[in-house]
Every structure is written in C-alpha cells, then in structure tokens.
Amino acid sequence: MPDLSTNSRAQLAQVEAVPGSSKPDPILTVDNITRRFGGMTAVDVAHVEVQRGVITALIGPNGAGKTTFFNLITGFDKPSSAPKLFGGPSRALAAKWVFNGRNMGNVGASKVAQLGMVRTFQLTKALSKLSVLQNMLLGAKDQAGENFFVALIKPLWIAQEKANTDKALELLERFKLLEKKDDLAGSLSGGQKKLLEMARALMSDPVMIMLDEPMAGVNPALTQSLLGHIQALRDQGTTVLFVEHDMHMVRHISDWVIVMAEGQIVAEGPAETVMSNKAVIDAYLGAHHDTDLGDDSLLDEGVSQTPEKVTKDPKIDQETHS
C-alpha cells in the first residue's frame, strides 16, 4: 500500500501547477460547479481534479467558498448549475462531478458517505448526548443491526458490534480519547470533539476523507500527533482533502495545495511553491499589499475600477432570476 501513495506523490511532481490542471490518477473530478446565494456567487469552479492517495489541502481566505464547495461535493448542498429536467444549464455547462469513477450528480449525502467519501464539519457535529463510544459505533458502516427486523434479535448483530467496538477503542486510543469513552460527547472540549469527529469518520474506512478545518481548536501538542495520523492515513491508501487556515500544517503535510478565492480556484501546486504564487498572495493580502497607497497613479486606477464593479453586479442578479 505505501507504494501506491509514494507512486501517487511521484506522479504529482509531473503535474503542471496551474488552476484546474489534470492529474494522472484523479479520484475526484469536478466540472462547472456553481453555487449562488441570491446575487452572491459563493462557488464557481470550472474544473478541478484531486489526485488519489495523496493529501490535498484546500486553502483560501475567509469567505472563499471552501466549506460551500465541501457541502456541494458531499451532497449537503445542491449546485445552482445542477442539470435540471426543464431549463437549467446546457449539458456541457452543467455541474458534473465524478468520484471514484461514479457520477455523483444526484447522490444524497448519506449515499455519498456510503460510497466512501466521508466528511467532517467545521462546526463539530459530535452527538453530544451519546457517549463517545456510541458516537464512534454510529460511524461504522453496513451494520446489520441497523435493519429494523435484525435489530430485534441480538445474536444476529452482536458479533459485528463487538468487532466494531474493538475497532472504535483502537481508534480512540490513537486519538487519545480512550479514557473518555463512556463520557457523553457533550462533555468533551472543542478540540476533543474535533478529534472525535475525525475518529468517527475513520470508523467507516473511507476511500477519501474530507476534513473541514481539522486543527481549529486542537492544542499544539496534539496537532503534531494528528498530523502523523493524517500522514499515516495517506500511507494506508486513503485520499485526504482538507480545509485549513494553519499554513504551517498545510506546508508540513500536504502534497498538493489548491487555493480558492471568491469562489474560484486561483492557484494549484505543491505547498512549497504555491505559497509564493502571485495569485495566492493577492488573494490573501490584496493585489496592492506591496504598493504605497500614497501613489497617485494607483488611486486613479482604484477610482476607475469602482464603476466597473457596480455594473457587474446586476448582471449576476439577472442570471439568478432567469
């Protein structure tokens, strides 16, 4: 298995670092995915591919549309550009995303998870009134005991339950939550809830795990071991896509970085080089971060840009209403 991930990473070295570049072995391919909230376009991604077996980071300033993008891909939200029975965008321009060789256009959130793309949430969704262990067990997939009629007869599901419990305890130990296993998840700290959510997602042995800000609120001592876990996951063949604001973490573990700004992919590339990409610096710091605002010529430019923007907005509005 480690070979697969080393291979995948080696393949990435050949990939051109431009937005929407094609990968040698993409697990996820997204086309024309747009999401508008009224007149605001939150996500407008023309094409992006995620390489199998590597860690890909999705970064971008606040409001760049990273979480909305996650929601769209995992079936928690529907793209505005989704193909419709009547009207809607033409076939070539309609949203289309393929995960592991399967078109995910009309797949509901629970089905997405069953197919192996499991996500976590930025605002943790630990089930606070279930114990930590129950939370974990809920994550296991294909449980016979979740069928109404099978559930009535304990011998039919107890063996699987035991196996799941063993697996859960092992994961909890890895995530330093073992001594909390019988506590209600609500009693955990914010960082511990993050860990629990990640551990719970791993209960289903996902093909691809999507982590929304996994490190927010986790104490630095734990961060180090978490990074190790994520890398270990990759080495076992799981594809990881994560949103993160902590640049140290991004630089440290990601094999590939995708940068979003204002809903679009503005840059892609290996962590070392993408940070110095002009589009990325512009997105984070503004296009004029390096220039002296006292410069008159610059002010003129700023004035001339303003009306252009105003005329743009109604056009977007019209599109949404049509």
């Binding site: 998870a113 949430f121 089930l127 997939k141 559930a151 009535l152 209600l184 289903s204």
Partner: protein, 328 residues
C-alpha cells in the same frame, strides 16, 4: 366507605384499568417518536383513532378478529407513510403542525354525517357492535373473580380479560421497544434526534429511519386505540386534541427516552388526576366547588402539571436530564 379510602381505591382501580393500559401503549409509541427520534408528533390521538376505526369497522363488516387487527395496523402504517413522506424532510416543527392537523382531519372525517353508515357520524360506534369477537376469545369461565380488593367480571364488558390482555400488551410492547433501542437501530434514532446532518454524514439514510420510527410509533398508537375502545365505545370526539395532550403529559411525567417512563407516566397521570378530583371533592365545600367543578378542576390541574413539568423537570420521573432537554 371512608373518603380517603375511597380515593385510594379509585386510584388503584384506574391504575389497573384498560384505558390506562391503552394510554400506556400510545405513550410508548409517542416515546419512540419524541423520546428516541425527536419527532414532534402532536397527533398521536389520530393514530389511535385510525386504528380504532380500522378495527371497529372491519369487525362490523364481518371480518374475523385477527384480520380486523391487521386492518387497524395497516391503516396506521398507511397513515404514517402519508404523513411522513412529505413532512419528514422538513424541520421538526412542521411535523408538529402537520400531525395535529392530520389527526383533526381523521376526527372530522370520522364524525361527518356523510359517513354515518360507516362510522356512525358524531355518535360514533357503540361497543356492542365490535366487542363480541374479542370477548369470545376469552378462556375464562363466566362469573366474577375478586383479586385483592378488585371484583370484576371474568370476561364481560370491562372485566379481567381485557385487563389481562391490555397489560400483557403493555409488557410486550415495552419489551419490543427495549429490544430495538439497545440495538444499532436505536442508536441511529438517538443520533437523528440530535443532529440529522451528522448522522447523514456517516452514511445513514436519515429519512428512512425517521419514517420507520414514525410507522412504529403509529402502529403502537393504533394498538392503543383498539385497546381503548374495546371496553368502551368509539367516540371520535373523545379521541381528539385533548387526548394527544394527555398522552404527552403522561409521557413527560414518566420520562421520555426511557422504557418504563410512558407506562409509569400513564398510571401516575390517571391516578393523580383521580386523587386531585377526590381530594377537591372531599375538602373543598360544595358551596365553592361542586362535584362537576371538581372534575373540571382536576383537568385544569393536568394542564398546569404539563407546564410545570416542561419547565422544571423535563426529564420526568425516570428520565435522564442530560439526555433529554428541549433545546436539542
């Protein structure tokens, strides 16, 4: 008989009565909805009524007893599907609105004069027209039996047979729900109660689980309805909104999300109401409150009790406060 002794006797008699058992079963069903899945079903009486109609009308039209019970079950499941499919995708509050209206629709349709031939309109259906097949199943000889201080007919309209069947059903259904709730199936329901999206992100079909829960609780409601009318008569107006709220009070009193909560709650609900009524009759002079008013007073106290419960002890007698709170 001395006043206090009479109240105690009345309390024990109502605790054992088939109506209490019927309420307990309906409350077990509501507990599956609200206690375990977080579905705000405000129309449990509708499920009871539809079960009762299904059973009574089938028997009156010559169907055998067991087939009539099956009709009652089928009617409640269809009702659950009709309610659930359009509403379970919405937020919980909408289900409350839809269920209370649906229950009222059932009642209004049942009591409308157009259906006089079938449902007896607002007069309902008298017990004699559907009771016989049930009583003929009784293995007991004719006559009366006294156990402790209770003397009832062995079979009869309101005798030992219906009591034994009723409380056996309570035990069976409580066991049934216990078996389900300790399983992974029950765990998913408890997850749904708290955060649907989280459960969805783990690959569970939330809609399907909610529908199963609605159907199970509705089935129990229908069984409660059948049991409720057997020793009495089918009166659509006595199975309306107020009945739904009595079931809610019983459930919250005993403790939602517990196995015995709904059973204990139903017993306490009836016994305490009788106690309030009896004590008010005993100690409040009739110049202030006559016997009719003491009964109304006791029902008012039910409403007050429901409010106090929700505010001060949402977990009821048996519940776990950490597990059950209303802001979930």
């Amino acid at each position: 008989m001395d006043g206090i002794t009479k109240i105690l006797y009345d309390m024990s008699a109502i605790a054992l009565s088939p109506a209490t058992a019927a309420f307990a079963i309906a409350a077990i069903g509501l507990n599956v909805h609200f206690g375990y899945t977080g579905l705000l079903n405000m129309g449990q009486a509708g499920f009871m009524l539809i079960g009762a109609y299904g059973f009574a009308i089938s028997v009156m039209n010559g169907l055998p007893f067991w087939l009539s019970v099956l009709v009652a079950i089928a009617a409640s499941l269809v009702f659950a599907l009709i309610l659930g499919i359009p509403t379970l995708k919405l937020r919980g509050d909408y289900l409350a609105i839809v269920t209370i209206s649906a229950a009222e629709i059932i009642r209004m349709v049942g009591r409308s004069s157009v259906l006089n031939a079938l449902t007896g309109g607002s007069n309902g259906i008298t017990g004699n027209s559907y009771r016989d097949p049930f009583n003929s199943l009784s293995p007991f000889p004719d006559g009366q039996t006294t156990i402790l201080w209770f003397t009832y007919d062995n079979t009869g309209v309101n005798g030992w047979w219906i009591r034994i069947v009723g409380w056996s059903l309570v035990a069976i259904f409580a066991t049934f729900v216990w078996l389900l709730m300790r399983s992974p199936w029950g765990r998913v329901l408890r997850g749904v109660r708290e955060d649907e999206d989280a459960v969805r992100s783990l690959g569970k079909n939330v809609f399907s689980f909610k529908l199963q829960s609605l159907a199970l609780g509705g089935f129990l409601g229908a069984m409660g309805g059948v049991l409720y009318i057997l020793p009495a008569s089918l009166q659509p107006d006595s199975m309306g909104r107020s009945m739904t709220f009595f079931i809610w009070t019983a459930l919250l009193l005993g403790g939602a999300a517990t196995i015995f909560g709904p059973v204990l709650g139903s017993i306490l609900f009836f016994a305490l109401r009788i106690a309030v009524q009896g004590l008010a009759g005993l100690f409040i002079p009739s110049s202030i409150m006559n016997s009719q008013q003491t009964e109304q007073f006791s029902w008012i106290m039910v409403g007050v009790a429901l409010m106090l419960l929700v505010i001060f002890r949402p977990q009821g007698v048996l519940g776990n406060k950490k597990e059950l709170s209303f802001n979930a």
